[in-house]
């Protein structure tokens, strides 16, 4: 078992120069719900992401508990009632870029990625738009997309006094570092 680990590490190390693997440990993820009574927004800077510009693989994950809200009760309800973070601790996306931009040249490249988007334990096959930016060799990615609560079995009871939007806007932004 030990050897397999070593081999894998060595193999990753050898491969990375040619493979264009980028990682980000502090991706910013925010969500925004606009409803008649109350607007809710929450932010996390604990997102993680891997981008492989050779294969086009792109992966994102964010711990549900890491979202910070304006009001502590919102955070409690978000974790306890809506996303059940004890059962489903992460939201994630794992997919492939449909077109792989040439990251050796500076520029802004609109991209789409198709893959599995998982929230609240429910996986949805989605194509998500985004932008890959390259500036002086530094690679970053932003994306904005909508998530419908009912697509992920997040129930919003009629009884709750403060309203929550049926569709939540998600913004993601990651500044990558080459994987060494």
């Amino acid at each position: 078992m030990k050897y397999i680990g070593l081999i894998l590490l060595a193999w990753l190390g050898i491969n990375q120069a040619g493979q264009g693997i980028y990682v980000c440990k502090n991706a910013a993820v925010s969500l925004y719900s606009k409803a008649p009574i109350e607007d809710i927004d929450a932010h996390s800077d604990k997102g993680t992401s891997v981008l492989n510009t050779t294969t086009g693989d792109v992966a994102f994950a964010v711990p549900i508990r890491s979202f910070k809200f304006e009001k502590s009760l919102m955070r409690e309800h978000f974790n306890e009632n809506y996303l059940e973070s004890d059962k489903y601790p992460q939201a994630s996306f794992k997919g492939k870029l449909n077109t792989i931009p040439d990251v050796s040249k500076d520029g802004t490249y609109p991209v789409t990625a198709t893959g599995l988007f998982e929230v609240h334990g429910v996986k949805q096959n989605r194509t998500i738009p985004g932008k890959i930016m390259v500036s002086k060799g530094a690679v970053s990615l932003t994306s904005e997309f909508m998530v419908a609560c009912k697509d992920h079995k997040v129930e919003i009871p009629k009884l709750v006094f403060h309203n929550i939007a049926e569709t939540i806007r998600i913004n993601v932004s990651a500044a990558y570092a080459p994987y060494k």
């Binding site: 050897y3 070593l6 081999i7 894998l8 060595a10 193999w11 990753l12 050898i14 491969n15 493979q19 693997i21 990682v23 440990k25 925010s30 925004y32 607007d39 927004d41 932010h43 993680t48 891997v50 492989n52 050779t54 294969t55 086009g56 693989d57 992966a59 994950a61 711990p63 508990r65 304006e70 009001k71 502590s72 009760l73 955070r75 409690e76 309800h77 974790n79 306890e80 009632n81 059940e84 004890d86 059962k87 601790p89 992460q90 794992k94 009871p157 009884l159 709750v160 006094f161 403060h162 994987y179």
Partner: protein
Amino acid sequence: MAMLLSAAVAAAQTTRKDTTGKSSTDSLMNALTAPEKGEPVIATFKATRLIFTQTTETVKKKELNFMVIHRFGDIAGSAGGGKTFFGLDNSSDIYIGFEYGLTDNLNIGLGRSKFEQMIDLQLKYYLLHQTTDNSMPVAVSVIGKTGFKPYHVNTNIFDNTLNRFSYFTQAIIARKFSSALSVEVAPSYVANNIEYPFLVGNEKRYFAISAAGRLKFSKRMGIVLDYFHPFSSYRDNSVNPKYYDGLGVGLEIETGGHVFTINFSNAQAISEINYLNNTTSSWGKGQFRLGFTISRIFDFNKKHQSSY
């Protein structure tokens, strides 16, 4: 060793070329998202009160919790039945209280009971938070409380203002076993400046214990059970009046910013000092009552500018 490694690497490269991207992305993501250690467990309970007993929860900084707690009259027995509409005509106690978060862990509380017209002032501190990795398996909060009866009653012994002060201190030890089940045990100490009730043989000071729990059966509803027992030989042995342990069962419902508890219990009083001192009503004699708790959180944190 080096040769073995490089040979192995070469082998790995040739045999696994096709799956290279996938497996490296996956293993990298797994490495990056390694679970964080020891985060504090949130929402052990939904509110700061169950039926009798307070919970380990505190209101967060600059939040105000407004509580209305009510106990009706006896449902059955000599004071209950149809003539009092099963106790709904009477109120054995009404408590109106506020709790404010000085910090996330330190609360100041003020409340007033109908029972003995008592005013109580309390400080509560969330001492230890249970952690997700169980390096701290329980949550601990401590309470210090002073109760004052502003009006003298019955005997002239209570004319002396100092004799109308009582003190209460409690450590609440709770564990959230799962999202559904939270249980707490709370040893406490009661000190009255003068024996209350003012009867021969009564102790001024004694220990007591409370135990309570909540089992959720949906995300927003749960069953609450609450029990207390004062370690007082006077209360154990007194025949007239006879004292009873408190037992309450209730339904807890959360609706956004409100938490409601609808309960049945034998204790008449709501404040700890009152119910530990003076519970003389018994389930067995039909002296149990309907009660409810409404708890509403107001947030006084300045709205931060939305970044949108």
